[in-house]
Symmetry: C2
Subunit: 337 residues, 2 copies
């Protein structure tokens, strides 16, 4: 018999746990799940090279304009695989739910997990569900792990391969996810509504790989935003990164809200964008390829790699001055993903 809320019995490993999996989890995930009731899934012929990743998701609220924790949990892990050039294949889903969580909340999140998995062409093959007492977790955390396969022709992508003269690309506007979650959390509303960019990037990444043999590295700028990714790249490459303020695409409403709240879109999280470094000869072709893709319509070349100010990111402003884009140090927006 189904209860209206999650109870500790649902986490006890007995009948109630079994019923939760059979009557709520698996049906909600729908056709996206091959999950056996066994504790581990077997995968045949995974390929010569595989990519492996994990990510925990603690976003609050669970649903926000343009997305929810279920979609983030799928796309976040899919995107980490895509950024190393892998084709995402299999997901493992770990659920930690709070006693008293409405069953309908769990069900609706898991439906989104299932839909997102179908959209991203990944199969959820194994999982785990824990329930903790009221107050021991805030509603619901998801952790996903993923396995992707890496084609034999995919080069090793790593920011330490970036070198002076390379071009820095972004696939679209910065800061949408961060502002969407913040608005939802603070009860702010805008017209037009700012929605999360939450999307699976594997196809876009594949297009970029095919278009740019000199692709050095890709990264999805989530927590810490573009500023964090560029600083990591600059350190790893031991090179300077110089970007043009005017070239960084930011939606007008995101820019306006950021200004009001004292936030900088460069530091805000994205969940459906990538930053890439490519050799100069491939830059135009890479940019055209991104722009021809629905997820890259607003792609831009935003700067270059140089031999000056090694390890630092510098932004040239509209009025011609230059300022250092610091590695984020503060707490920014907690529980943004």
């Amino acid at each position: 018999m189904e209860t209206a809320t999650i109870t500790l019995a649902h986490g006890a490993g007995g009948r109630a746990s079994d019923e939760l999996i059979r009557s709520v989890v698996l049906p909600a995930l729908g056709g996206a799940s091959d999950m056996t009731l066994c504790d581990a899934a077997l995968i045949s012929n995974p390929g010569e090279r595989i990519a492996f990743t994990t990510d925990g998701f603690t976003v609050t609220p669970l649903f926000f304009p343009g997305g929810n924790i279920g979609r983030l949990a799928v796309f976040g892990t899919v995107n980490d695989l895509a950024m190393v050039g892998a084709v995402p294949r299999y997901l493992a889903l770990s659920i930690i739910a709070e006693e008293g969580l409405p069953m309908e909340s769990l069900r609706s999140v898991l439906r989104e997990v299932g839909n997102a998995a179908r959209e991203a062409s990944v199969r959820i093959v194994t999982g785990d569900t824990k329930v903790v007492g009221s107050g021991a977790v805030d509603k619901l955390f998801l952790t996903t792990a993923g396995i992707g396969t890496v084609g034999g022709d995919v080069p090793l992508l790593s920011p330490d391969q970036a070198c002076p003269g390379d071009v820095v690309l972004v696939s679209g506007t910065m800061g949408d996810h961060g502002v969407a979650v913040l608005s939802a959390r603070e009860g702010l509303s805008f017209t037009p509504q700012i929605t999360s960019d939450c999307a699976p990037l594997a196809h876009l990444a594949g297009v970029l790989l095919a278009a740019a043999p000199s692709l050095r590295c890709m990264r999805d700028p989530t927590r810490g935003g573009l500023a964090s990714v560029l600083n990591e790249f600059a350190r790893a490459a031991d090179a300077g990164f110089e970007i043009q303020e005017d070239a960084v695409p930011v939606r007008r409403e995101v820019a306006a809200l950021s200004e009001i709240l004292g936030l900088d879109p460069l530091y805000l999280a994205n969940e459906g964008k990538l930053v890439a470094v490519v050799g100069p000869r491939d830059a135009d072709r890479a940019l055209s390829a991104l722009r021809a893709h629905p997820l890259g319509l607003e792609a831009r070349a935003i700067g270059t790699v140089n031999a000056d100010h090694r390890g630092l990111v510098v932004m040239r402003t509209g009025i011609g001055t230059r300022r250092i884009v610091e590695y984020p140090t503060g707490e920014l927006l907690p529980r943004i993903c």
Copy 2:
């Protein structure tokens, strides 16, 4: 500069996050980690068949006699892989920490993760760290995902292959982990102290696989204990499972405490034991093999599979009566793993 406690900045994806990973996480994990600072790890030649699993760990307290959340997080996932006949190879570690957690708590847990990984011969290749505000999680949750390789000669292990006449084995005493955690939580102390059985089972499982070609299935009886595993087996096999009460090994002190607290060791969690079903011809050899292993010294044959009372588990008591071992329904002991 290291702070004495975890702060939200440690979860923000910037400098503090980076420093936490470099100066606390990686050193504490020690040689057990190949973790790159990249979001996904690449694995070459993983093998023809791989096993994939995940498990979340929410145990309270973080340290208890005989173990801690770090060892559980490694061994729990290693054991899920071992139970399908895989050799555990790679782990992904996801950390969700509460703001204000003493840095030393995180560090000591991660040292245990590192030690446990070395003991179990697995490499931690990727990870993720999130920090949530005070009150949004109780101290520290870990989620591990694991990949194991499955040898070409390993049969498909599944409880639906159990058939009448088969023999049920357990590798040792039941209920130690559950009682150890409960005692720690309730501040109960005993002489001798009851300690968790928390241990990696892959080597023991390999020994059993080699000794018993007719091995049908193995399972580690964690949440819900032996009662839960046998009920799952009975349902999957559509067969009856009959066990002898006298044959189930239970430490005297575990039995005594269970009696006082109204608990049944059959329903208590174990973290270093396995339950196996083998064909009758292999039963003696399997039992000898288990007993020759340090983790199986107290292995016993506890019962058989039969064609009666399909889907049910029945226990024959010391005085000759029979009672049904119900699938656990209640909340048992939350946050036991």
